[in-house]
Amino acid sequence: MTTTAPETARKPATMAQALTRALHDAMAADPSVHVMGEDVGTLGGVFRVTDGLAREFGEDRCSDTPLAEAGILGTAVGMAMYGLRPVVEMQFDAFAYPAFEQLISHVARMRNRTRGAVPMPLTMRVPYGGGIGGVEHHSDSSEAYYLATPGIQVVTPATVADAYGLLRAAIASDDPVVFLEPKRLYWSKDDWSPDAPTQVAPIGRAEIRRPGANATLITYGPSLPVCMEAAEAARAEGWDLEVVDLRSLMPFDDDTVCASVRRTGRAVIVHESNGFGGPGGEIAARITERCFHHLEAPVLRVAGFDIPYPPPMLERHHLPGVDRILDTVARLQWESDWTEGCGA
């Protein structure tokens, strides 16, 4: 699907608006796509991502459910069994936890347990991450829980164009997708416009957002803009940093990540999720297994602390920021006598 408009008519859209457009276009293209969740109908969702859908497609296609996350996902499983493509909205990261049993015991394994007879083409949209001043239970980075479960794809956009393209791909996928939406980027804008050509982005491919020669920053979702800023700032230190946006955590794009690290010889993984048990550990292990002889330094991580998500007035200390990223890059054993970097 491609629409074009004159350059002058282009008006930048927010990530939230791109997501709305993706839902709208998916519903228009396929009558089996049904949006459901808490407050998604009349209100248009607490982040307004489903704004206008109930009005345009009717309340059967965009429906307010009772307030019960396990019930929402569980009924979506049954709807998918009958040939629909449910798109479920979980209101906040930490409010998705009651649905875990349905996700882990049924959504993730229905195709496998039925030898492919019952696929689960459903999408679970989850606003996630911090940085918006949310009170307790409104800012979790829950991706590691999902990654620990085989059978689900885990996707997260970091740009407005990807918000559109990846959500279209998620809804079109015949496998379940946990679609993690970085809350603090909902209002971000870049060069994507609803008038510009719209493209479906393939699931499972990372993207190099900034080429560089000296080290690779590997990141996703809400931390991408932070890494881009850090890469700009690093030029003053004489470091030319490459930035890889993973976009899809499962399937994981080993090829793009490893090709980049082999080129630069150094890697730092950046995410908000806590470090211990977070995705960074898995990524570091994969890089070490595959790129050991190309590495000039150990793979390092900049992650959230191993603490319950902090209250809003303290969250800036927890979230990976430019300074912490640059401090970590500085520890990548640039000196010829590499032992100096060890104690850093």
């Binding site: 459910t65 007879a117 499962m250």
Partner: protein
């Protein structure tokens, strides 16, 4: 005397305005309430109107079901099944559930409900695949309209609601019948499924087989409700209490609930009072939590014996009918025995085939690793493959994923 001890404050009148009408419940709870005693037909005057064809059909299915349970239990002792949760004593529930449905309807069974699937026409070997352990689901759920046997309690109930909801949205008059045990009614998914079904007026029938125990925990430790059927009232759907060993009574109630659901009348909760004659599974020891005399009182209320009584009264329990019924049941058992005594054909590579529609690169690597291990095993070198476990890709792929010096 406080207002808690003696409700009735609504009899007080006030000159001040009350809460605006939006708070009001939308339905009159009276018709939703179950009867005080389980609904029965056998041994009552009403039994006279029962169709003889239905009675003989139910009887033949009960006898087959009892024999099937005995055979499956025997196969467990012989090591041919990993585990078997028997429905001996509960055959009326299983058979009535299956016969209440049309072909286009869906059954959502729990792990104890293989007999319901078999009574619906599923091949018993396919029904027992999960419990044999060669795969998780041995049949195509779409083909048979039987959802996978569900082990996590009550989690299949929201699926039944969603499926029936989707069918109705598509304009199909499909009903879903979901089976759960007394223990399962304590689960959150039971509550959420009933609530969604009632709010959406979904064509679903919930059948609670109250067999007295959740493994070892008796009903009194499971609920403080007047009955499990009473729980329906809180959601705004009818709850019906039935003698679960009275096959015609349960068949009538379930058939009526299915008819009502199909006609747009919404969901129904049916509690079938029954008893688990056997232990929870072959791995359980029921003598630790109940007495033999309790079991004996239920044997006197056996679903097959109850129905035999009615058939005998009507001269339907002829020698010929009994013999052909027994022969049919033996045939089922013999076929099951023969086929289960053959080892299933397993392909370990199936482990990777259906995780995703399209295999990820990680799964391709792991499949290659297992393939190499299998090849080494076949060649008589089971100890290790050419490359280590972390290598990811075998020599057959032409290169090693293990990092080599640049």
């Amino acid at each position: 005397m406080t207002v808690l001890e003696q409700p009735g404050s609504s009899r007080n009148t006030s000159d001040l305005p009350g809460p605006p009408p939006a708070w009001r419940p939308r339905v009159d709870p009276g018709p939703l309430l179950p009867d005080a005693e389980p609904y029965r037909l056998l041994g009552t005057d009403a039994a006279g109107r029962l169709d003889p064809g239905l009675l003989t059909r139910l009887y033949a299915q009960l006898v087959r079901g009892r024999r099937y349970n005995a055979q499956a239990t025997a196969l467990t002792r012989q090591g041919r099944l990993a585990v078997y949760p028997s429905s001996t004593g509960q055959e009326a529930c299983q058979v009535a559930a299956a016969l209440a449905l049309e072909d286009r309807d869906w059954l959502f069974p729990s792990y104890r409900d293989t007999l319901a699937a078999v009574a619906r026409g599923l091949d018993p070997v396919q029904a027992l695949t999960l419990l044999r352990g060669d795969w998780h689901t041995g049949y195509d759920p779409q083909e048979h309209r039987i959802a996978p046997l569900c082990t996590p309690l009550a989690t299949q109930l929201p699926h039944a609601v969603g499926l029936a909801h989707a069918a109705r949205l598509k304009g199909d008059d499909v009903v879903a019948l979901a089976v759960v045990g007394d223990g399962g009614t304590s689960e959150g998914d039971f509550h959420e499924a009933l609530n969604f079904a009632a709010v959406w007026q979904t064509p679903v029938v919930f059948l609670v087989q109250n067999n007295g125990f959740a493994i070892s925990v008796p009903l009194a430790k499971q609920t403080a409700a007047p009955s499990l059927a009473h729980k329906a009232v809180g959601y705004g759907m009818p709850g019906r209490l039935v003698d679960g060993n009275d096959a015609p009574a349960l068949h009538e109630v379930l058939t009526e609930a299915v008819r009502r659901a199909r006609g747009g009348g919404g969901p129904t909760l049916v509690e079938a009072v029954t008893y688990r004659i056997e232990a929870h599974t072959n791995a359980d020891d029921a003598t630790r939590y109940r007495t033999d005399s309790e079991v004996e009182t239920w044997r006197e209320h056996d679903p097959i014996a109850l129905l035999e009584h009615e058939l005998r009264d009507r001269d339907l329990l002829t020698e010929e009918f009994v013999r052909t019924t027994q022969e049919g049941a033996e045939e089922l058992a013999a076929g099951l025995r023969d086929r289960m005594n053959a080892d299933p054909e397993l392909d370990p590579m199936d482990l990777f085939t259906h995780v995703f529609a399209e295999q990820t690169s990680q799964l391709r690597e792991q499949a290659a690793q297992l393939r190499a291990e299998l090849a080494a095993e076949a060649a008589g070198h089971p100890e290790h493959t050419e490359h280590g476990a972390l290598a990811g890709e075998p020599a057959a792929a032409g290169r090693s994923a293990q990092e080599t010096r640049p």
